[in-house]
Amino acid sequence: MNRSESWRAAGVVAQEVRFQSFLEANPANLARVKENPEKISKALKSQSRMSIFFSSMILIMLAVLALVASAFDPDFANPEATLAVGFAVYLTLSFVVIFFLNLTTTSGLFTSGAMSLPSILPLTRVELEQLNFMTFVRIFIAPVLLSLIIFPVGCLLIFGPIVAMIALVACASTVSVAIGALIKVSKWFHKKTHQTDESRASAFIRVAASLGIVIGMISIYSIGSYLPDLIRFIISLSSTAGEGFFTILALIFPFSFGFLAASIPYSTVVPLETFLASIAGTAFYAGIALLSFKRSGESLRAITLGGISTSSPGLLKEVEVETRTPLMGMIRKDLQLATRNIGSAFIFAVPIFLVVMLYPMIQYWGEGPMRSITALTALEYANLFGGISLVSVLMFDTQGASIHEGLPVSSKLILRSKTVIMMVPYAFSMIALDVVFLLNAPISAWILLMPIIQIPCGYVLGMTVGAAVFKIRGGGRAVAVNVTNDQAIGIVAGAVAAGVGIVPLVGYGLAMMATGSHIISITVQGLALLLMVLLARFQIPNLLKD
C-alpha cells in the first residue's frame, strides 16, 4: 500500500469514526439511523463541515484578537508582559478549543471498532500503523493546520521571523499536548461508557463536551471585548504580586513561550532572569510535547492492534429496581435525561454564559467603582436566564408522555422537581455574579450581599414560571413544552421571570433612593424575597390542577 492509497483509505476510516461519534453523541440519532440512513449521513456531513468552520473561525478570531491586543494595546505600560500574556492566553484558549471541539469525534475513535476496521485487511503491521496515523491526521487536520499556521504567520507579520519561530514551536507543543490529552480522556471515556457498571463518567463527559461547544460559541460572540480585558486582568494581578512574579510565570506553561517571544522585541525591558526562566520553561514544555506526541502514536497503535479492554460488554448486570422518594426519583430521571442530550446541557452552561456576557458589559457601563444600579441590572439579566432555564428543564419530559399519563404524580410534585433542578444553575449564577462584582470594585461591600440574598429567588422564579407555563399550555396541568417548536412559551417564560424577579430588585432600588442606605435597601430586598418565597410556597400550588 503506497502513501496515496493509504491516505484515501484513511479517509474512509476517518469518515466512519466521525459517523460513530456522531451517533454516540446523541442517542436519538440511533433511532433515526435505522429509518433514514441517508438523512443521518447528510446531517453528519453538514455537521462536520460546521465543526471545521467553527474551529477555524474560533481559532482565527482568537489569534487575531490576541495579536491585536498584545501588539497594539496602547494604554498599557508593560508592553513585554502584554505580549507574553497575550501569547499565553491564545495558547490556552486554542488548547481549550482543540480539546473540546474534538472531544466527541475523538471518543468515536474508540467506539465500535472503527479504528480496528483496517486490521481485518491484508496489511502489514507497518502499513497499518501508517494508515492509523493518517486517519488521525485526517480527523484533526483542520484545527491542527489552522493552529500551526494562523498564529505564527501573524507573529511573522508583526514581530518578525524569530518570534514567529517561537510561536510555531509554542503552537505545535500546545497542539501535541491537546491531542495527547484528548486521546487519554477519550480512551478513559470509552472505557467508562462501555463498562457495564458505571455510566456516571459518561454523563459527565457528555456534559463537559456540550459545555465545550457552548463555550466555543460564546467565545465567538463575546471574546472581542473580553480578550483584552482578560489580558489586562492577568497582568494587573501579576504586577500587584511584584516584578519577580513574571519570572515565576515564565516557568509556567503556557507563559514560558510568551515570555520567550516577548524577550525578542522587548529585549531591553525583559529582565535576564525572566528570560532565562522562559528558556528553561520553553525547553521543558517542548520536551513534554514531544514525548506526548510519541505517546499518542503508541496509544494509537495499541488501539488498532489490541483494542481497548473494557470489562466484557456481554456480561449482564443484575436486574434490580432502586427506589427513591418520588421527588428524588423525578430529579434523578431528569438529570439522566439531561446528560444524554447535548442541547439540554445548555442549562448547566447558564452561569458561564451569564458571566461571559455580563463581564464586558459591566466594564462598559460605568467609569469608577461599580454602583448598585449595575448590580441590579446584572441580577435582572440573571432572572431572565432563570426563566429560560426552567423552560429547558420542562423540555426533558417531551419524550415520555405515555409514561407520564399513567403515573400518579401531582402537578405540584412535577413543578417542585423542575424548580429544584433549575435552582442549581441559578444559585451558581448568583455566586458567579458575586465574583464578577468583586472583580469590578463595588462602591460598597454590601453590594456583594445582593446576589447571595437573591439566591432564594430561584425558587420563586421556578415556581411562578412553571405555573405560568402549566396554566397557559396545560390549563393548570403539568405539561412538557418544546421551545424549539414553541418559541412563544420561551418568551413568556423570560417575561414572567423578568417581571417576577424584578420585584425585590425594585424594592432595593426604591429603598436606596429613599434612604441612600445599602443596609436598609438590602433588608428591603430580603424581606420582599421572603414574602415572595412564602407566596410561591403556599399560593402557587393552588393554581395547579391534577
Partner: protein, 259 residues
C-alpha cells in the same frame, strides 16, 4: 364493587361531539372491550376516565374514585397503556423502572423480586440496560406493559393494545390480559379489531360517532341485532347501520376493479 363506572359522559371539541352521553360499567374480574371504528371516541373516553381530559358533563369513576376530582388516586389504582408510545427514548428500561417505582413508592425489595419475574417471563433480560430508543417495537411494548403492571393494579386500561404488535407479542399481550383476570383483575381495552374483541373479551361495548350504541356479551349482541350465529363483524355493521353503505361501496369497488 364495579371497576369502572362511566355515567352520561360528554366531551366536545368545538363543534365535534367526540363522546356523546356514554354510560358503561366494567365489572370486577371481567375483560371489557370498547369496540369502534377510528375516530369513534374510544381514546377520548379513556382519557377522561384516566383524568387526563375534563369531561363537559357526566362522570367517570374507578373503584368509586372520581376521575375529575382525584386523578392522582385513579392513576394509583390503574395500570394504563396509552395508544401512542412515547417512552423516554434516552433512558434504559432500568432507569425508567427505577423512576416509576420511585413515583409509585413501591418497596424496593419486593419490586426487585417482581421485576426479576417479569424480565424472566418476558425474556427481557438482555434489553434491561439498552437505551429504549434502540428497542424494537415489541420490546418497547413489553417495557410499557411492565411499566403498567409494576404496581399490580386491579384494573388494566389498554388503548388499542394490539394495533402494532406482531404475532408473538400479541400472544404475550393476550396471555397477560388473561392471567391478570384469572387473578381477579379487570381489563378495559379499546380496539377496532373484531377478532380481538370476539376472542378475548367477556363483554363488548360498541361505540360509533361518540355514542355507545350497544353493549353486552356476544350472545346478547347477536339477539339485539336479530342474527343468530352471526359474527361480530356483521353485528357491528348492522348496529352501526353501515351495512348498506358498505355494500354499496363494495359494489362500486367491484366495478372499478373489474376491468
Amino acid at each position: 364493587m364495579t371497576a369502572v363506572s362511566i355515567e352520561n359522559l360528554v366531551k366536545s371539541f368545538g363543534n365535534l361531539v367526540a363522546v356523546n352521553d356514554v354510560s358503561l360499567e366494567v365489572r370486577e374480574g371481567e375483560i371489557y372491550a370498547l369496540l369502534g371504528p377510528n375516530g369513534a371516541g374510544k381514546t377520548t373516553t379513556i382519557k377522561m376516565l384516566m383524568g387526563l381530559l375534563d369531561p363537559d358533563s357526566g362522570s367517570a369513576k374507578v373503584f368509586g374514585v372520581d376521575s375529575t376530582e382525584n386523578p392522582v388516586e385513579v392513576k394509583n389504582l390503574v395500570g394504563y397503556v396509552p395508544e401512542e408510545q412515547q417512552l423516554y427514548d434516552s433512558l434504559t428500561p432500568r432507569e425508567l423502572f427505577n423512576f416509576i417505582a420511585s413515583i409509585r413508592k413501591l418497596p424496593q425489595e419486593m419490586i426487585t423480586k417482581r421485576m426479576k419475574e417479569f424480565v424472566k417471563a418476558l425474556d427481557f433480560e438482555q434489553y434491561y440496560d439498552n437505551m429504549i430508543v434502540t428497542l424494537s417495537l415489541g420490546n418497547k411494548q413489553k417495557t410499557m406493559l411492565i411499566a403498567a403492571l409494576l404496581h399490580r393494579p386491579k384494573l388494566l386500561i389498554l388503548d388499542e393494545p394490539f394495533s402494532s404488535l406482531d404475532v408473538r407479542s400479541a400472544k404475550i399481550m393476550k396471555d397477560i390480559v388473561k392471567i391478570h383476570t384469572e387473578n381477579g383483575g379487570s381489563v378495559l381495552m379499546s380496539t377496532h379489531v373484531m377478532e380481538v374483541a370476539e376472542g378475548l373479551c367477556d363483554r363488548v361495548g360498541i361505540i360509533d360517532e361518540g355514542k355507545l350504541i350497544a353493549e353486552g356479551t356476544l350472545d346478547e349482541l347477536r339477539s339485539k341485532s336479530d342474527r343468530v350465529g352471526a359474527n361480530l363483524e356483521s353485528i357491528f355493521l348492522k348496529l352501526t347501520e353501515q351495512e348498506e353503505e358498505v355494500a354499496e361501496g363494495v359494489s362500486v369497488l367491484r366495478e372499478a376493479l373489474a376491468d
